[in-house]
Amino acid sequence: MISHRVHRDLARAISSVENRIVELPAALRALAAHGHVPASHHSDVLGVTGPPGAGKSTLVDRLIEGLRTAGETVAVIAVDPSSPFTNGAVLGDRVRMQRHAGDPGVFIRSMASREAGGGLAPATRDAVRLAEAAGFDVVIVETVGVGQIELEVVAVADLILVVTVPALGDSVQTIKAGLTEIADIFVVNMADRAGANRTALDLKHMVHEGRRDIPVLQTIAQDGTGLPELLATIAERRGAEDSNAVRAVRFEVVRRARDAAASAALALLNSPDALAVLERLRAHDITRNDAIDSLLTIFGGPVHAH
């Protein structure tokens, strides 16, 4: 059983990786040394994403309630945005999840997104691994309020709920690329508002025309309407989505390769050869396009972006 002491140790472990005091393996070893859980323990990771104000936190609160009633322990990692100007953040997701205080089977941690731009924080993935190592049955990852292309939750979650609300746009919105492509379950929240049936219908048409079978459910998270159906659907789909492993790995490999390439490019821009090219640009010896081509040649042969 999960104790209050586990909460403290897990919280400190998350801080240590979030603030880059230690790397994940050391933090995992430390948790293990405190004798918490067998190394083979596996958590199901549930992603909850969608636009700001769609009711994600309120829905997560209801999911915690339902999962606890079924006897499962739950850790929540909830991400809110950092200011790109001051690096400060106000993390307010807990406001909707207060009633679980004192229940050691529920652990809730807020994270500021810091420099990351994909809807999660740089250390969210590590925090999920730590919560798993601490022994929680389910880990819920709530993203920042996202637009259409903050999709990083794909690389972290086994099952993704895309939460939307009525009347955010017409049916064309449902066939655009991005957010709608990562859903394993669609939730139309605030279903008592005008246009809920229309939104659900648009999503169902979109699903029907696609290749994957994705349930579309309506909820009112505020009063719990639709939650039994949502919980049943989650239970049915957990562990069944084999395709997500491939999707997650592809996404993560591309992301890391892109990050590595960007770091390498930044480093190379300070090399003597690159500085010489930039100097020629400054002196109007070459055009901008010439400079770009020369620099990319320095980085490892001609590279064409298109």
């Binding site: 603030n19 430390a30 993390l91």
Partner: protein
């Protein structure tokens, strides 16, 4: 690393304007502020402080209940073996009560005359004094 602060309002009083202004001022000073909202019990406050692993818990009390709430918070922190999270208070707190609160382990009281800048400076100073211990502890914990 950014300073992480819990801004919280215990008890029955429903005035959270000040707490929100504080949350925002601390955000603008580059801190990560976990805001809990109104009507928090000591159990909720301590649970949040531990799970969020904040550097500082800022408790805003305007109702006069500070001599009941603070002892409960400090007792619960002790019961959960947490000795590295600093508790500070703000709001309407009589001068005569301040030494009593400090004796309980409340580190600082920012009264109604304090500006948000006083609060920012105070938190930065407190964390500069205590923060190194926390960092060391986190590193030792992972060894």
């Amino acid at each position: 690393m950014p300073i992480k602060v819990l801004v919280t309002k215990p008890g029955l009083d429903g005035h959270d304007r000040g707490a929100k202004i504080v949350a925002r001022a601390l955000r603008d000073a580059g801190m990560e502020v976990v805001y809990t909202g109104l009507h928090q019990t000591p159990e909720m406050i301590v649970t949040a402080a531990i799970q969020e692993d904040v550097d500082v818990v800022g408790v805003s009390i305007l109702s006069g209940a500070h001599m009941t709430i603070f002892p409960k918070i400090m007792d619960l922190l002790k019961a959960r073996e947490v000795d590295d999270i600093v508790v500070i208070g703000g709001g309407v707190i009589q001068d005569a009560d301040i030494p009593k609160l400090k004796a309980l382990g409340v580190r600082e009281i920012f009264n109604a005359e304090a500006t948000t800048q006083d609060l920012i400076d105070g938190i930065e100073r407190i964390v500069a004094e205590y923060g190194r211990d926390r960092t060391r502890r986190a590193a030792a914990h992972a060894r």
